[in-house]
């Protein structure tokens, strides 16, 4: 099938979803049968557009021209199993997940109006799912946790975060880790937080020896540890005041593309059951933690 056969359908679907948003949100169930074409469309067009975050090692990032990461490999597995090409839509994070779902899944961006068929790395949270009725969140594939990687010679043990009153800690600016550290112990860590503009910047601060530790997700911490020139260890000390110490992540699709979601969910189940996902994460130095059955 050529591109032209796909375009009118895409436009049509887009328009219908907007109409239903503004006027007929009560009729979603009835219209969804009509709109449930995306799986067929994807197969017919021979291409699946997959959203991954940019600068988000070890899940998705560019190493030179090569797009790498756990989420990227899951995306490629989608293509393999569905027998379609994969186009990655790589964008930065907006202010919150609701914005990301709008821009990358159900509405598209303001300039080019481009969205993806599926978004990876979406927190599987009932509240988020309910709030964003034009997106569907499904198929948890990984359990995200918060953790710290430290230089184990400088900090042989890490019973609490109090050690970071005196030892600098690196963190990517404006992330869950940054908010936790900024608030911790009534602001007593303020002078020891070393914020990086990107996660890579934060890693550089840690690797340069300027900070004794780095806070991020467990996967990030393990990935840093795996590639570090320092002697490192991973810790998950108590995090008083943190909103969640762990949460599952899955995929999001458009509300009218549930059948695509089922097909991709099957791929994810197979990746988990066959042990392939574990092999993927371990190839990035990240131990695989299966999400609890939800």
């Amino acid at each position: 099938m050529n591109e032209n056969s796909e375009r009118p359908c895409l436009l049509w679907r887009h328009r219908v979803s907007l109409v239903s948003l503004f006027f007929f949100s009560g009729l979603l169930l009835q219209t969804s049968v009509l709109q449930a074409r995306p799986y067929d469309e994807v197969i017919a067009s021979g291409k699946l557009v997959v959203f991954v975050y940019e600068d988000y090692a070890p899940y998705s990032w560019y190493e030179g021209d090569e797009l790498r990461g756990i989420d990227v490999e899951i995306g490629r597995a989608f293509g393999e199993k569905l027998g379609v090409d994969i186009e990655f839509l790589v964008r930065g994070a907006d202010e919150n997940i609701d914005d990301d779902l709008r821009v990358n899944i159900w509405k598209g961006d303001l300039i080019h109006r481009k969205a993806a068929d599926v978004m990876l790395h979406v927190p599987v949270d009932k509240e988020v799912d309910i709030r964003n009725e034009l997106a569907v969140i499904t198929s948890p594939y990984f359990l995200e946790q918060m953790a710290v990687v430290v230089d184990s010679e400088e900090l042989p043990e890490l019973p609490t975060f109090a050690r970071f009153v005196y030892n600098p800690i690196a963190v990517e600016v404006d992330t869950a880790g940054d908010f936790f550290l900024s608030n911790a112990f009534g602001g007593r860590l303020h002078s020891s937080i070393r914020r990086g503009r990107t996660f890579a910047d934060a890693v550089e601060v840690f690797e340069s020896g300027e900070a004794s530790g780095l806070m991020g997700s467990r996967a990030q911490a393990e990935w840093v540890s795996d590639g570090s020139a320092r002697e490192t260890s991973i810790h998950q000390p108590p995090m008083p005041g943190i909103v969640r110490q762990s949460w599952p992540i899955g995929i999001a699709i458009k509300h009218d593309s549930r059948d695509l979601g089922y097909a991709l969910g099957d791929v994810i189940t197979e990746l988990i059951v066959s042990g392939r996902l574990e092999k993927i994460t371990e190839s990035y130095g990240v131990s695989y933690v299966k999400p609890e059955n939800l």
Partner: protein
């Protein structure tokens, strides 16, 4: 992107032979010519820096954003007046075309019978005013990765010599040949991949050290950015100086480090100043009298004020910069330790204030935080602050030093304090984060000596939200919703006496006002409404004298000029901007408004201008 570069290359080639042959053949004559016209404006060179500085007095053109560098938006034209305004008729309407519409916030530039007007999605047109026909159009090729935060608007162009300048959504500034629309140069202000954008009209100012400079701020990037003011050579686009607005950051002059803004860590904890915010997204004004450039700065980051104890300078401030070297002459912080998203970007307008029999070199600004400030523009000293919207709740007032008397009850709480995952206590703050006044510029009449402020009466509920996620990770955020204060109106155009703080009259509008204001020596005040009307009021009484329905919402600033002995008025139209992006109760009064994209030109025919 590639196409634009190609255009630039072609343009450079085609210019070269012309330039060479002209300079060779006219070599002998050129000397005589330049001697002969030394005192007159050099027409051959197009618009001069003197033209820009004298813009307010010369009524046959509009070569600056704000009808003069001070941004007073006052025209000495009085052909059109209270008696004959009923005879103001539309002459033409020019469509921006395409599928792309959204908000049109642009102010046209007028020179030698040509209108230069920018539109949404980084487009610009040159229009023959006599006929309303297009002379050229330039579309910036916007890259895939660009994600502007708010709307795809542009506020206008600048003009100097034979070039027209405007900023694009991918944070670049483009210089075009005014006659052909071909690219002369194109420079990156900031990297759009880091979330930067550009929407303001550039400012051009004179200097002794560098000649004219084109001065811009920066915009976009919710976090991790630092507001900065930059000056460039208008011929080449080369950077002359930069001035970061957050303390602890180093400025540059002629490619070398100059001085640090303030002192690192003085009013910020830890290394937070490094990503402190303060985007200078609305551009600036210039006062030829004190020779200072005035810029406003955005809110500090992160949003949660409990994470950053201290004043957080110079976020939410006005700063005066010496354009010779980019040094800060003075700063005045309207909202120290902002917790409400009260950007301090609103325009600072220089004016001479008659008070107690004396003339004060003053400047005024109507802040998002709901207070109208008058400062001494020579040194930034505080003179007065008066509420220009009702029921302000975030502060109980402004003290004699110009600092707010905060109401701690109405500061949004720390989300971390509701870590149990429950919705926290809700507070009601007035004004809302969209401000008592937002970007839309006010006007100052030299006749009535009053400011005409386009304002909005609204507040916001803010609460700690149970849970949200950023970049896949969980954190506690804040929820908010904007609420009108009154049942029957949000928009409020007010005439304020800056010397007394007295509101002389008020015009109320159902939808929020989002367009700029123009006032004239004919005793008129113009502004547009989201409902689609361009309206004219009696500057003394506020009586509505004239209106015209343009067919879509107005969120731009009107202009007036004289051409072939007739007075013209123009306005861009097209509903959009930030208001439609926010829902809540405000959506009820704006959700039915249709998009558009055009510029309307009006004039009063000669025979109808006589009483």
């Amino acid at each position: 992107m590639r196409i634009s570069e190609k255009r630039a290359a072609v343009n450079a080639k085609s210019l070269l032979p012309t330039a060479v042959s002209t300079s060779l053949s006219a070599l002998a004559g050129a000397v005589v010519l330049s001697l002969g016209v030394a005192s007159a404006p050099a027409m051959a060179e197009g618009v001069t820096i003197d033209d820009l500085m004298n813009d307010q007095a010369t009524t046959d053109d509009i070569v600056t954003y704000g009808l003069g560098p001070r941004g007073q938006r006052y025209s000495p034209l009085d052909t059109l007046n209270k008696e004959n305004i009923k005879n103001l008729f539309p002459v033409w309407s020019f469509s921006f075309g395409g599928e792309k519409q959204r908000g049109q916030e642009s102010q046209p530039i007028i020179k030698d019978g040509v209108m230069y007007v920018t539109g949404s999605y980084s487009r610009i047109w040159a229009i023959d005013i006599a006929t309303g026909e297009e002379l050229w159009q330039y579309d910036a090729r916007l890259p895939e990765g660009i994600l502007p935060c708010c709307d795809v608007i542009n506020r206008g162009a600048a003009i100097l010599g034979d070039k027209v300048f405007f900023g694009t959504l991918d944070a670049k500034i483009v210089a075009l040949n005014a006659e052909t629309g071909k690219v002369v140069w194109r420079k990156t202000i900031a990297n759009y991949e880091d979330g930067y954008s550009y929407t303001a009209a550039p400012l051009i100012v004179p200097t002794e050290a560098h000649g004219p400079l084109i001065v811009t701020g920066n915009s976009g990037g919710e976090f991790g950015i630092v507001g900065q003011v930059e000056a460039r050579n208008p011929d080449t686009g080369d950077l002359v100086w930069t001035r970061p607005v957050i303390e602890g950051h180093m400025g540059t002059l002629n490619g070398e480090e100059s001085t640090m803004t303030g002192t690192a860590n003085e009013t910020w904890p830890g290394d937070m100043y490094k990503n402190g915010g303060g985007a200078t997204w609305l551009g600036g004004t210039y006062d030829p009298d004190t020779k200072l450039v005035f810029f406003g700065t955005g809110n500090p980051a992160p949003w949660n004020s409990h994470l950053r104890p201290g004043d957080n300078k110079w976020s939410a401030s006005r700063i005066a910069i010496n354009p010779e070297d980019g040094e800060i002459a003075w700063g005045f912080q309207t909202t120290p330790h902002d917790g409400w998203d009260y950007d301090g970007v609103n325009e600072f307008i220089s004016f001479d204030m008659e008070k107690d029999g004396q003339t004060v070199k003053a400047g005024a600004t109507a802040d998002r935080n709901g207070f109208f400030y008058v400062l001494d523009r020579t040194n930034g000293d505080f003179i007065s602050a008066t509420p220009f919207v009702q029921n302000i709740s975030w502060a109980k007032g402004i003290d004699e030093n110009g600092r707010p008397i905060w109401d701690p009850e109405n500061r949004p709480g720390n989300p971390a304090e509701s870590a149990d995952g429950k919705k926290g206590k809700s507070i009601f703050a007035v004004p809302s984060f969209l401000g008592g006044k937002n970007w839309m510029p006010m006007a100052y009449s030299q006749d009535t000596q009053m400011f005409y402020i386009p304002s909005n009466e609204w507040g916001m509920d803010i609460w700690n939200e149970p849970i949200t996620y950023k970049k896949g990770a969980a954190y506690l955020g804040a929820g908010f919703t904007i609420k009108p204060i009154f049942d029957d109106y949000i928009g409020s155009l007010k005439a304020m006496d800056p010397a007394t703080g007295e509101v002389k009259w008020e015009y109320r509008n159902k939808a929020p006002l989002w367009g700029g204001v123009l006032t004239t020596a004919g005793g008129l005040v113009f502004t547009g409404t989201p409902e689609g009307y361009l309206k004219a009021f009696d500057a003394e009484t506020g009586e509505e004298l004239w209106k015209f329905q343009t067919g879509t919402g107005i969120v731009s600033s009107p202009v007036t000029w004289e051409q072939d002995g007739e007075q013209w008025v123009a306005i861009t139209t097209g509903w959009g901007g930030a208001v439609p992006l926010w829902g809540g109760e405000v959506a009820k009064v704006v959700s039915y408004l249709n998009q558009g994209g055009s510029v309307w030109a009006f004039k009063i025919p000669k025979q109808l201008a006589l009483k």
